[in-house]
């Protein structure tokens, strides 16, 4: 029998839920067993109460898990009805989630220098990875892309981990005017990276993967798909790979970029 998902049902209570940038929220929940089980790059699938006609859960990556405090912090964008309802859940509100789900970042042993590239709400799982790499003493350079300055998140947190951070905005309102894939490709061209990780818009990850392949660096990407169950039963979150269709909830969300056909 293939291995079932690591996800279990966890009740949680909201500790805090505040807007940290325009439309981007930080949600801290208390869920002790989950907090000690989550690994960087995995996801949770949250039941957001309040609308009987909206049935499916909301799959979200997480930023950090504190096993001692029993809390998990998630950053999410309020972009649809479900995430807008989630943003209304105040401290003390309760619900349940399924997690931890999927395969997280698999950084090769012996990695010494990493380039992390994240766009928009792709930042949290990459920031989570940066924390793990910092603990392992890996040198980390970061390229971040956002639409505009009001939507920028994570820059201070990356710098606090000792990472070198390049910020780009589409409108030039902060950092370099343009896409973060340009500085990422430049850095990769200079060489020295043995690991690259990326999460953000599909077109961004595709460019990063191509630049990493050219530079000969192993690259992982965290992909987003519409998901019905999140634990390997429904076959809806498919990712086309060189080895056939793979479910993002079980074989991902983090994939070896060289195996991905459709990002």
């Amino acid at each position: 029998m293939p291995t079932p998902s690591t996800a279990r049902m966890h009740d949680f209570e909201v500790v805090s839920n505040r807007e940290i940038a325009d439309g981007i929220f930080s949600l801290v929940i208390s869920a002790p067993k989950l907090a000690s089980a989550l690994k960087p790059g995995q996801f949770v699938n949250i039941a957001v109460p309040g609308d009987a006609s909206s049935l499916l859960r909301v799959p979200l990556s997480f930023y950090r898990a504190d096993a001692e405090a029993g809390t998990v912090e998630l950053w999410y964008a309020a972009v649809g009805d479900d995430t807008r309802r989630l943003s209304q859940m105040g401290p003390g509100s309760t619900s349940n989630l399924l997690g931890p789900g999927g395969r997280g970042w698999m950084v090769p042993e012996g990695t010494r220098k990493a380039l992390l590239v994240a766009g928009g709400i792709g930042v949290p799982p990459v920031l989570c990875l940066a924390g793990m790499l910092a603990e392992q003493g890996v040198d980390v350079d970061v390229c971040l892309g956002f639409g505009t300055a009001s939507k920028v998140v994570g820059v201070d947190e990356f710098r606090a981990l000792g990472a070198t951070v390049n910020v780009c905005t589409d409108d030039g309102s902060l950092g370099t005017h343009g896409f973060c894939t340009d500085p990422a490709a430049e850095l990769l061209g200079e060489g020295g990276y043995d690991y690259v990780a990326s999460c953000g818009p599909a077109v961004m990850m595709k460019k990063v993967a191509a630049a990493a392949a050219e530079a000969g660096a192993y690259c992982e990407v965290s992909l987003e798909r519409m998901m019905s169950c999140g634990f390997g039963a429904c076959n809806t979150c498919n990712v086309e790979t060189v080895d056939g269709m793979k479910g993002a909830c079980m074989c991902g969300p983090v994939f070896d970029a060289s195996k991905v056909v459709v990002f």
Partner: protein, 307 residues
């Protein structure tokens, strides 16, 4: 609890209670084993498999809509041989533990259905029965047409009947159900699963594209429930073989509606995605409802709808 007999006989499949799972929403069963004891269900129906592996459709395969979802999975499956090898041992143990296993058969043509069923009979002898999916609207090459006419549906059923004496069921397309049900009964079906997902469309008006990879997809979830109840009732008036009610069951009362309309057993579908423990909760709620009706046997309530 425990005073009502909940055991039912679905066309030769002896179920300890009337709760089954809808193919495609319950994987191969083992995906749920860490959430609850699957052996407490009456039966599970495994995701359809064909003689050869099918890759399924590109992404996106699903969009959420009010009261349900629309899917365009395209029956991705590893083929019967890989299914039997990977999931067979767990499913065989499940059937020994008291939960019957019904395997769904997929195919693009009569020959493909027959070949897949022959493989199941050889490789999955632990299966209590087989459900022939003549109706999956995702099947491109004529599959939908086969299930949507009495001649097409019964030609598949008649060919499969020659393969095995084991219980054979048909997952019916939600069209012309009474007439097609009669044809399937005549062709030797032991029972009918009513209904499969309903074809629908969801368009992103900003991009003007379908919200799933193909123009059309299959609607499922509570939004289908009352259409399914009506169709179960129509089929129950038309045939004598037992019915498995499928469509938007979220609670024990939803399941009870199917029983009253004439279903012998009930499959839980989308609810499995919302809460992986939903099917067992629904089994308990159904039993509580049967108790509340003052009967000794759930079978007394099958078709007990009063107009």
């Amino acid at each position: 609890m425990g005073t009502v007999n909940m055991a039912v006989d679905f066309g030769g499949v002896k179920m300890q209670n009337p709760i089954n799972t809808a193919a495609g929403t319950f994987g191969y069963g083992w995906q749920f084993q860490n959430f609850f004891d699957v052996s407490q269900l009456g039966a599970i129906t495994t995701k359809g498999c064909a003689a050869e592996p099918w890759p399924g459709n590109p992404a996106p395969r699903m969009a959420e809509i009010p009261g349900g979802m629309i899917n365009s999975v395209g029956l991705q499956n590893p083929g019967v041989a890989a299914f039997a090898r990977e999931s067979g041992p767990w499913l065989e143990q499940l059937s020994k533990d008291g939960c019957q296993v019904i395997c769904q058969v997929a195919g693009h043509s009569v020959d493909e259905f027959v070949r897949a069923l022959e493989m199941y009979v050889e490789l999955c002898p632990w299966a209590a029965g087989y459900e022939i999916n003549v109706s999956c609207p995702n099947i491109a090459a004529g599959g939908a047409a086969m299930g949507s006419t009495p001649e097409g549906a019964s030609s598949v059923m008649a060919a499969c009947r020659k393969v095995t004496d084991k219980p054979l069921f048909v997952k019916m397309a939600p069209v012309n159900v009474a007439e097609i049900a009669k044809a399937l009964e005549a062709a030797g079906a032991d029972g009918l699963s009513v209904i499969n997902s309903i074809q629908g469309m969801a368009i992103d008006v900003h991009t003007r594209k379908s919200r799933v990879a193909k123009p059309k997809g299959g609607l499922s979830g509570p939004l289908c429930h009352h259409i399914a109840v009506r169709m179960v009732w129509e089929v129950a008036q038309a045939v004598d073989i037992p019915i498995n009610g499928v469509g938007g069951v979220m609670t024990g009362e939803d399941a009870a509606e199917f029983i009253l309309a004439g279903a012998t057993c009930v499959s839980v579908g989308m609810a499995n995605f919302v809460d992986p423990c939903a099917s067992l909760k629904i089994a308990h709620e159904l039993e509580a409802w049967a108790e509340s009706q003052g009967v000794k046997d759930i079978n007394e309530l099958v078709g007990a709808f009063e107009c």
